[in-house]
């Protein structure tokens, strides 16, 4: 403690201080705004109602701490981009500069470059999903595909079915377009189709049938589970019987470490037009390219095309050209196989560490692919609060389960990522998490819990 001697260095400030540095400081930096905090009220009355629905949350602020260098973050969803070979990158960029420079710097068609759409048809065919070039629209990442799908079908107040938990990145799309989301539970075989049926009956009785069902059948984010073949067949049959539109999001289908590939819902629908299919190059190539796609019936694609014109006219021609030239020269499946080798080791490390570090009451999924494990703790634990102590005292971060629900559920769960962190760091991160959880379970016992 310093001495409390009255060494009072009070500063005097000149009354009108146009400092000598001012003149050449005119270039505005973000901090240079003329607005004071009091001025923000002028916007409050003007914000669109869908923007008003976007709230500040403890979770979001806590999540931002996970970027601190001393924190092991199992919160991200980052694919590995370090395995991509520099020589291949150089080679592709060289070809682009030499042969396609002007067109690569130019606008492109809204639906995407024709050559890329042809390649996308091939990529889908590799998963057994037959599509024609005219079924495909290129999007700016899979995220835009989700946004366009929701925007195209959902009016404010419309009901939408989604898995519970659902993709945390889809949550802002649902809230922006003011969808009423009804979550349908999953088990180890993915979405419970019997409960989808129940929900359909109930919603029909309430006079608010869902506009669509949003699902990630393979290696669900964040659930880490995969819909069984039987359930896929049942879901598509149900879609046909009940005229339920399925939005199938399939970013991870090729990121499989064990077992055999399963048919996509798009394939099982067999052209009947009840499936809108979304996918991306983010996991099989690189997320920084921001390139995804939609496959949909012509009438749907026309509407989505209009939506895309409003959003961004066209996706980056630079990225599209990169992918075309890359696919022309290299077998993307080799790269995916390498990535999958890396991810498999990381998943194994995470499952091993969870086995060692988590209390016996905890449960977690054992994914055969994808990037995430979903862990559920005893229900007296709140994972948003746990994140505060995990970040502050134990230097480890994860995504609290509430981020994957729109109805306030998920408080006892968390999403853990293994793709972005090496094995040794995963083990240490899960060890720290175990300590944070043990601290809370011990406290629970001390408070008379479980008696």
């Amino acid at each position: 403690m310093t001495s409390t001697a009255p060494r009072r260095g009070v500063i005097t400030v000149p009354p009108t201080p146009p400092s000598r540095h001012r003149a050449h400081e005119t270039a505005l930096t973000p901090g240079d705004s003329a607005l004071t905090p009091g001025d923000s009220a002028r916007y409050d009355a003007r914000f669109a109602s869908r923007a008003a629905g976007i709230v500040s949350s403890v979770m979001r602020d806590l999540m931002s701490l996970s970027e601190r260098p001393d924190i092991i973050s199992l919160a991200g969803g980052f694919p590995n981009t370090e395995a991509f070979e520099r020589e291949i990158y150089d080679e592709v960029m060289e070809v682009i500069a030499r042969e396609h420079l002007a067109s690569t710097l130019q606008y492109g068609p809204t639906e995407g470059m024709g050559e890329l759409r042809e390649r996308i048809v091939d990529v889908m065919a590799h998963e057994g999903a037959r599509a024609r070039v005219e079924d495909i629209m290129v999007t700016s990442g899979g995220q835009q595909a989700i946004d366009l799908a929701i925007r195209t079908f959902v009016n404010p107040g419309d009901t939408v079915l989604a898995e519970g938990p659902t993709y945390p990145g889809a949550v802002p799309c649902f809230t922006t377009y003011e969808a009423q989301v009804v979550h349908v539970p999953m088990d180890d075989d993915g979405l419970r189709i019997d409960l989808v049926e129940e929900a359909l009956d109930q919603l029909a009785a309430e006079g608010r049938p869902p506009k669509l069902l949003y699902t990630i059948p393979s290696f669900q984010n964040p659930g880490g589970v995969t819909m069984s073949l039987e359930r896929r067949e049942r879901l598509v049959a149900l879609a046909h019987e009940r005229e339920l539109l399925l939005v199938e999001d399939n970013p991870y289908g090729q990121i499989r470490f064990d077992g055999d590939p399963l048919p996509t819902l798009w394939e099982l629908d067999d052209g009947a037009g009840w499936v809108v299919y979304l996918s991306t190059f983010s996991k099989i190539l690189a997320p920084g390219l921001r390139t995804g796609w939609v496959a949909a019936p012509a009438a749907v694609l026309r509407k989505m095309n209009l939506g895309k014109q409003a959003a961004d006219l066209c996706s980056s021609t630079g990225s599209q050209r990169f992918i075309v030239e890359y696919l022309r020269r290299h077998d993307w499946r080799d790269y995916v196989a390498r990535l999958n080798g890396i991810y498999r080791l990381r998943r194994d490390a995470m499952l091993r560490a969870l086995e060692e570090e988590m209390p016996p009451e905890a449960r977690w999924t054992r994914p055969s692919g994808g990037l995430f494990v979903w862990a559920t703790l005893p229900d007296y634990l709140d994972t948003t609060n746990l994140l505060a102590s995990a970040v502050e005292r134990h230097q480890v971060a994860f995504v609290p389960g509430r981020g994957a629900f729109l109805d306030g559920r998920g408080g006892d769960s968390m999403r853990l990522n293994y793709s972005g962190v090496p094995e040794a760091v995963i083990s240490e991160g899960v060890r720290r998490l175990g300590v944070a959880v043990a601290e809370m379970t011990e406290l629970h016992r001390a408070l008379g819990g479980g008696e």
Binding site: I11, L65, S389, H444
Partner: protein, 312 residues
């Protein structure tokens, strides 16, 4: 002059602090100062030594920034800083300590008891919950002793919610406060000045559809209605100001502070806490008080800076 704006840091209120800091920086630039924006990390001392700012404007919230830590460092480096000194920050930051000072000085504050995590783990304090409930009644506010922005605070409306509320609070601090719930209006009095501290007009925060003025209500535009100056009988407004100045004095604050109060149905005022580094975000109370005082944000920032000092 060259002013270092200290913001961000590693506390749970990092994001809030970055927003406060951005507003302070913008105001200081408009006032003609040179600004050194510092997102506080392990290079803080080196940055301050290298740039030798004339003063530090502290826009840090939470642990490290509001608890006297950064103030101690600025004392050592002899960089005058805004807001209260080391000891006053420590007293204000720990709600248990602050309430003890209030009680001694006869400042009304809701009755409370406090326990450390160890009391629950090692002495079975959990079994004393019935006695606590008996003494303080229900509902009961459970909050971390040291934390800002209402993080970890729960209003337990029946006894069964108390253990869960304790777990929440203990996730944010190792010590927890159980406080009698006062149903009332949320008021805040910002105080600026050192030689002659001045209470700015009372601001009332009216959260929409909420239990209390929680984190979301604090930082989501439109989720809370602010009335500045608060519509209060003159006598109550004057009493609130007098109470705020008294708290400022009791804790030994200087330069800046915000006193949070409740006004119950019988027009009685209760002090909840003093914030040594009040928020300066777009939805914060201090900027609203500045407007209501007819000063504007920039003028208040200038006055806060003018009181930058060293020592208690």
């Amino acid at each position: 002059m060259l002013v270092a704006v200290l913001k961000g840091g590693r506390s749970l209120e990092r994001e809030v602090s970055l927003r406060s800091g951005a507003n302070a920086e913008a105001a200081l630039r408009r006032l003609g100062h040179d600004v050194l924006a510092v997102d506080v990390d392990q290079h803080l001392v080196r940055a301050l030594r290298g740039e030798r700012p004339d003063a530090a404007f502290i826009a840090l919230h939470g642990k490290g920034g509001e608890d006297g830590t950064v103030q101690e460092l600025l004392e050592i480096l002899e960089v005058p800083y805004t807001g209260p000194g080391v000891l006053a920050c420590e007293r204000a930051w720990d709600k248990v300590v602050a309430k003890a000072h209030f009680a001694t000085a006869g400042v009304p504050t809701p009755a409370a008891v406090a326990f450390s995590q160890d009391a629950f783990r090692e002495m079975g304090a959990g079994e004393a919950i019935p006695e606590i409930r008996e003494r303080l009644g229900l509902p009961l506010v459970v909050k971390p002793a040291k934390q800002g922005s209402a993080l970890g605070i729960t209003v337990a409306r029946d006894a069964s919610q108390i253990p869960g509320a304790l777990m929440s609070a203990l996730a944010y601090d190792e010590r927890v406060l159980l406080e009698a719930f006062v149903e009332g209006r949320e008021l805040a009095v910002s105080v600026i000045g050192t030689a002659a501290p001045w209470a700015l007009p009372v601001v009332e925060a009216i959260p929409r559809d909420r239990d209390f003025y929680d984190f979301e209500a604090r930082y989501t535009p439109g989720m809370t209605d602010f009335v500045a100056p608060a519509r209060l009988p003159d006598a109550v407004a004057e009493e609130a100001a007098a109470l705020a100045l008294r708290c400022f004095d009791v804790l030994g604050c200087r330069g800046l502070g915000r006193v949070d109060l409740l006004l119950d149905a019988d027009d009685r005022l209760w002090v909840l806490e003093v914030n040594s580094i009040p928020g300066m975000t777009d939805t914060s109370l201090l900027p609203k008080a500045a407007e209501a005082a007819g000063l504007g944000f920039d003028e208040v920032v200038e006055r806060i800076l003018a009181d930058a000092a060293l020592g208690a």
